[in-house]
Every structure is written in structure tokens, then in C-alpha cells.
Symmetry: C2
Subunit: 342 residues, 2 copies
DNA sequence: GGCCATACAGAGAGCGCTTACTATCCGAAG
DNA sequence: CTTCGGATAGTAAGCGCTCTCTGTATGGCC
């Protein structure tokens, strides 16, 4: 909380005085929504530029219009998963003449709440909250309350990649189905001992993907392999995979909950001197751009992140929600093959 | 421009009425900066929650305090280069109890100006503009004017990865030196015909890196190889590299202006059935996380993006600028080797 | 020459909050 | 039983804009 006062900013009135006109006239010149004589306009514009005047958005929106702003909340701005979603949102939102601001919450429920509050106070048009939801029932309840308040404040809340809340439409990904498809793919190759590397505990995406994996296993009557909790990032994947690969009864395949973690798994395999997929198969989820450049190229499940963001952006911009969740698609590449016969 | 009015939001006065107190009392309860009797406080808080009241930040900051917000402008929110910088900024800024909002400008000078204006109007504490500057002298002049106005509006502007402007401190990367180091590395391996894939024309980063490349070439008395303009992204790199690799007198090495483009070069080589580095060496710039996962791992120049962002964040948060630019460091990996003897 | 539409410009009332400055109420001190 | 001073609460003056009303020239017209 900086307690320094604003250094006596230049106001509309200052400009009016300098131009020798009334405040109303300056406002009209600036907004161009009312006829003003050419010479008057010039005088005003000159005064504006001489004084380096900047409209005060607070005063402006207090006196009328809404703030033309849409916020996007993501876990981590450096994660391409969120970057792609955010870019999709922005594309649609800016087509609607609104400005997008993005904020990173670090996946912290409290930060999430903090930014929602900030944006609500600014009377943003809408807030898109992207990514799985962590924090359990308690957080969900607080979020639900926030959604109610947001409605009262005139801000729409749009969920993206997590389940809807009363009053907040969601654009969803069928993670469970995608994960089941992937595991089925591994099973089809003959894998019977598959390690699974989850995302952070308590996250809805983590849970849906794990559930899908188990669905496929159960349907095939195959027992679950080793399970490890990760963090949706490369380092977490590397660490967990290092442990898994050192197991006496090493699995023939490792499924990571997302591509970033899978990249870490590949790194761990490399460090352990194991060949992928000859010694161990590896799969990810999301189909981030990096999965095509990985060594070997990564078998994964494509999530249409751009489209996900765009849909959320359209809802945020005031268009109707499009029904139906987005269905991920299996992308078979080189990191999965049949297990070596033992 | 949505012309719908705000749907009669709940105001402080409504809360006051409901709680049977004056507006001043409600304000004091909300801000906790003045003694209020416990029972009164409870009544007010109950009214607040019953009405789902949300403070109007515009009214609040009009009547006093500044907006506690720092903006970060990046070219592309989906590009890890910018994501990493933004994350660094946010880390420092949030340590100073300020909230960070990020916006993507698509590298368009006009969008850049638009967001600066938006943030200035909101009386943001500071705006960090990240990434090389495109748009030539005209844009620079407009930006300089904006910096002046920002000062008048009480907003600091901090440049990050581009040259400083009068009134706007900058955190710089010595791209030229890094690029020279890299090219020298290639030369040391014996390469004499090196293709260079630039970033977008007119961008300061593009120019600095190219200049460094030429410095090294000139110092060694080696002639420039083929030059191609790219776009700092994978696809641009792939396209340009495809053309280069098809040349009759194919270069023995390709240097891309950044890692993303280098990933595209690797993809092009793969498609052309060429082995890296046996048939052609490839190098990038930035040392994004993907360069360690690429196939083969990418020789590049490490730019301390996180630290870059953090320094900018510290300045944005009001701390003094730290002198000196950041020096990139050559990271030799597997994508560069001696050229095959012909 | 008198009238009225036309084109501008100014006045002034808020928008929803914060914050001096005042006004009460009460128990403690004199 | 007054007189005070603390503890609370209320009043009201803005903060910097926008926008609806009101003027007031100007010029075209009968």
C-alpha cells in the first residue's frame, strides 16, 4: 500500500482553462461524440498535448461507461498451456473491441480470489478463469459466492477447463475421455505395467485425467501400475520419473498428466541411459508445440487450447455459450511402441 | 463499445441504508482505518454480504488512492520467452503488494500504444514493456511522447529487453555480444558458410543479434552466408530453413535468431532427411526450456529471462534501477559440431 | 427586416467513494 | 451534579469526468 498521493495530475479542467473553453467542450473533443467547431477542437487538442493530459479512466467510468476490459486468470503465465488459452481468449475479445488483461495466480486459490476481486472492482466486463480448479470444496464454495457477487457487480465469470458453477458458464475439455483413449492406446501396444504421473493433488484436471486412465485399465482388466504425484511441470516430471525408472520392476510405459511433465520424463530416461520407446514408452497430454520437437516426438492427446480460449473469449465478450465440451484427440507419435519382450 | 448501462449496481449507499448507518461508516468498516463499534461493524458486514456488494474501484481511486496495479506488455502471451519475463516481473511486483496484469500486443506498435494508454488511464503504478521494439523511429517518437505523458499521469514506464528512452529506464540484454559469441563458436568448429535466420525486420532485438553475428564474421574475415527474414516463431523458422536447406550450395550451419525459430529449423532438417549436426549444425538464442528437450539438444545462448523480468519488476515496484545490462551466456549442446568434410 | 432552424458552447447535476470536520452520547473526573 | 474528553457516527465537500439541459450566435428564408 503506497501512501504517496498522486502528484497533482493534470485534469480536464486544466485543459479547459488553458484552451479557454468549458470542461464539457474538452470532453466532447476527446470523445468525438458531439459536434465541435474545428478551431475550438484544435485549441483543445493543442492544450491537451501541451499539458500531456491523460484521461482518468476512473473518473470516466464512474461517470458512465463500463471499463471495456476482460480479465484472464491463469495458473502460470510461463506455461504454454495457459499462454495458448490466453492467446485464444484475447483473439476473440479484441475482436469485440475489448482489451484483455492476464494475471497469473500461481494456482493459489487465494491469489485467484484476489485477482477476481481486483477485476470485479474495476468493473471488468468478464473474467475468464482458466485451468483446473484446486482447493477442494471450500474453495469451490468461495468461488461460487464470488460468482454471485460478480453478477451483482456486472461482471460475467467464465470458466475454462474446469467444471461450471451456478451462474458461471464453462468451456470444458473431456479430459477423462482423452486420458482413457491414451491408456487404451498403450494397452493396445501390449503394455501391462503402466506408471502414471499425476498433476497436483486436488486439481480437477488431475482427477479427470487419472479417472480416464483408470477407466481404460479397468475396462481391460489390467492392474494399476505405480502412481506418482507431480506438478504439471518439467522438473516434477523428471524427478518422479527418475524414481520410477529406478524401480526393480520397472514399468514398460509411463503416462504423464501433461506434456511438460512428459518432457521431464524423457529427460529422466535420457539421464538413466534408457531409450524411448525401446526401453520405456512415454506419453503426455495437451499436445503443446514442444511435443513435436521432443526427442523422440511425443505421443500425446491433443487439446484444442486455442479453440478453448476462443470459446471462452466469445462468451466473455457477450456471445452465447456454445454447447458441448471439447473432445481431445489422440496423437500417436514416436514415444510409444510395443514393450520389449522380456 | 457496448452501450448497455451498468445494471444498477449495489452501492455503498445501499449498504448503508440496509445497515441503518451512514455511508461514511460503511466505508470505514470496509477500510478498517477508523474505529467502528463491534455491533455496527457486524451489521454493516452482514448488509454487505446480503447485498453482494462489491466496492467500485473507480470511485475509490477517484476519491483517493492510486490503483496498485502494474501492467506488463508483451508481444505474444503464448511465447515462452515472454511468459518467463512476465513471470519474473510478477514475482517481484507481487512481493511489493501490487497486482500484475499482462497484455499481449502481437508486436503491433499500435496495440502497444493502445494498452499503454489503457493502463495510463487506469493510473497504473508502472508499465513494463517487454521485448524488442519494432516500428522504427516513428514509433519510438510516439513512445517517447507517451513516456512523457505517463510521467504526467503518475505512471512509470520500464523497458525490458529494448533500449531505454528518456524518462524510461531499461533493463537490457547484450544481444550483440551473445550473438557474436555464438557465431564465434560456430567458426571455431570450422564452419565457413553459415546461414542466418533473422527475426522480424525493424525489431531492435533482430538487429542487435544480427549485428553481433556480423561482428564475429567480420573479425574472422569470413563472408556472410545466406540471410533470411523470419518471425521469431517455429513456423517461420521451418519455412525459411526449408528454403535454405534446398540450396545447391547448402550452408554447413544455420543460426536462428531465437530458439523457437531454431526448433522450426530442426523440424525442417528432419523433413529434409538431414541429420543435425552431422549434415548441418543449428543454433538458437534465448535458451528456452524447450532447447534442452529438442532433438538434438540445442546449442544456444542463455538469456536470463527470469532475472530480466525480476529486475524490471523491481524498478516497476519503485526500487532503483540496477546498473548494467544482462550478459547472455553461450550454452553449447548437441546441435552444433564440426562440418562434414566435403 | 423579422423568424426560426442550425450549430456550437457552457452550466450543472451527478457517478460512488473517501475524509476532513462536526455532532452526539457516556462515563469519569472535579 | 456539572464539565470534559474519548469513542462513535453523521455531514458534506470534493475526486475528474460525462451528459442532459440551456443558452446564444449565425445564416437562410419568407
Amino acid at each position: 500500500m503506497s501512501d504517496k498521493r498522486q502528484p497533482a495530475a493534470v485534469t480536464l479542467a486544466d485543459v479547459a482553462r488553458r484552451a479557454g473553453v468549458s470542461a464539457a467542450t474538452v470532453s466532447r473533443v476527446l470523445n468525438g461524440n458531439y459536434p465541435v467547431a474545428g478551431r475550438t477542437r484544435d485549441r483543445v487538442l493543442r492544450a491537451v498535448s501541451e499539458l500531456d493530459y491523460v484521461v482518468n479512466a476512473h473518473a470516466r467510468s464512474l461517470a458512465g461507461r463500463t471499463s471495456d476490459m476482460v480479465g484472464v486468470l491463469v495458473n502460470n503465465v510461463a506455461d504454454p498451456f495457459f499462454g495458448l488459452i490466453a492467446a485464444g481468449v484475447q483473439a476473440e475479445v479484441s475482436a469485440a473491441e475489448l482489451l484483455t488483461v492476464i494475471a497469473g495466480t500461481g494456482g493459489e486459490p487465494d491469489e485467484e480470489l484476489r485477482y477476481v476481486e481486483l477485476l470485479m472492482r474495476q468493473r471488468a466486463e468478464a473474467i475468464v478463469i482458466a485451468g483446473g480448479q484446486t482447493g477442494g470444496a471450500g474453495h469451490a464454495a468461495r468461488l461460487a459466492a464470488l460468482v454471485r457477487r460478480a453478477g451483482a457487480a456486472g461482471t460475467r465469470i467464465v470458466l475454462c477447463g474446469r467444471p461450471p458453477l451456478p451462474g458461471a458458464p464453462a468451456v470444458e475439455i473431456d479430459n477423462r475421455r482423452g486420458a482413457a483413449d491414451l491408456t487404451r492406446h498403450l494397452l493396445a501396444f501390449g503394455h501391462r505395467r503402466i506408471a502414471y504421473l499425476t498433476g497436483p493433488a486436488g486439481n480437477t484436471t488431475t482427477e479427470a485425467r487419472l479417472a480416464g486412465h483408470r477407466d481404460a485399465l479397468a475396462a481391460a482388466g489390467v492392474a494399476e501400475g505405480p502412481l506418482r504425484e507431480g506438478t504439471f511441470d518439467r522438473e516434477g516430471g523428471r524427478r518422479a520419473a527418475t524414481a520410477i525408472l529406478a524401480m526393480a520392476d520397472r514399468p514398460t510405459a509411463i503416462v504423464a498428466a501433461n506434456d511438460l511433465a512428459a518432457a521431464g520424463v524423457l529427460a529422466a530416461a535420457r539421464e538413466a541411459g534408457l531409450a524411448v520407446p525401446a526401453d520405456v514408452s512415454v506419453a503426455g497430454f495437451d499436445d503443446l508445440p514442444i511435443s513435436r520437437d521432443a526427442m523422440p516426438t511425443l505421443t500425446t492427446v491433443r487439446v484444442p487450447l486455442d479453440e478453448l480460449g476462443r470459446r471462452a473469449g466469445r462468451i466473455a465478450a457477450g456471445q452465447a455459450a456454445e454447447p458441448g465440451g471439447l473432445v481431445p484427440e489422440l496423437i500417436a507419435r514416436d514415444s510409444v511402441s510395443a514393450p520389449a519382450s522380456r
